[in-house]
Amino acid sequence: MSIAVAATQTLEHLDRGPLSKDELAALVARDIPQGSYVNLGIGQPTTVADHLSADSGVVLHTENGMLGMGRAAQGDEIDPDLINAGKVPVTEPPGAAYFHHADSFAMMRGGHLDVCVLGAFQVSATGDLANWHTGAPDAIPAVGGAMDLAIGAKDVFVMMTLFAKDGTAKLVSECTYPLTGVGCVSRVYTDRALFLVGADGATVVETFGMSVEELDERLDIDLRTL
């Protein structure tokens, strides 16, 4: 982890409910330093871009070979040769650069990106990530760039709901789903709380509509506070 946390004390926001998806995306965007090189994973992480101000100077990378990627293309802007990793047409702002797949993943694997934001099925307190496979025996395995993204950036942020639909926690002591990467996640942004994770375990930075005590009861991990 290379980005320092601004907060000096764990904050409990108890005067509100859990974060909406949009609020969660805004929270992630808030924590991306000005001028960072960032890869936003497909799905929910993509929405973080909507909360990055034009003067943030953040440069987006897409693993299919572009740095300085623009927003989603609309109408006449749509060009089948210009897509993001989710195969959604995007735009080319001034100052962009194209490169081939080996160069693109060298950029990622070589640790040149500052932040990568990914979704997850599970994250462990030590930063293990499971986001590519549910482990269902009949599932067709498909990994795409997930494992490369997981180990490449200086900071890997996960954004997810803290609890699955069945109520089980997705921040766990040990992932039960097949791993995408080991000890690779540095922060977990959820609707209920923001956690730092890593070799020292999980630390609560901020909570939303839930106290640290409540979190402690519902999560099967040791929680620390700032």
């Binding site: 572009m66 089948p80 040769d81 997930a146 990467g181």
Partner: protein, 230 residues
Amino acid sequence: MSRAQIVTSPAEAVAGIEDGSTVLVGGFGMAGMPVTLIDALIEQGASDLTIVSNNAGNGDTGLAALLAAGRVRKVICSFPRQHDSYVFDDLYRSGKLELEVVPQGNLAERMRAAGAGIGAFYCPTGVGTPLAEGKERRTIDGRDYVLEYPIQGDYALIGAQTADPMGNLLYRKTARNFGPVMATAARTTIVEVRETVGLGEIDPEAVVTPGIYVDRILDLSALASQEVAS
């Protein structure tokens, strides 16, 4: 001897691809997908193929049609499962197709290694995951790596934007993707381009794939003119 040859028909472009060949197929989604060459390969009839590509076909066309025609023994790719990959899904589930799932960056780097004469490389991607099971592991300077081997193609089928008579290639936007890497990793590289230009019309500073990596060029615009004329 090895200079790029401009061919005039899709059939000529894919002539000689043998049964059992390993064929690298460019494209990420539809961007850079060599649709005309894939159709020609289906027509040509080579079977028992190993296909290396990022995906494993969508809908009923392109790679999916090649799979549906029963020509493919094995697929090496990063992301076979898509909302419309039903042809692949059925063949895989019924055990008619072998699958090797490779993280996308390893897929690219393993082909780059083949093209660059690297025997194997220690890669941090996938360490500790099911995709690294059975692979040799090593700790170097405190970081864990798995040993990955090159993927060499017999043939590469790729799409590009522009070719000159030397075989130098330009691509367009994110349709570049796997093309330049696959061109280096195959014994015979076959390219469909949208246009050919005269000698000296490509800026030597801007060449993405030097002609040495290109064996056969099919100009889609010339093909379209032929069709209009006939």
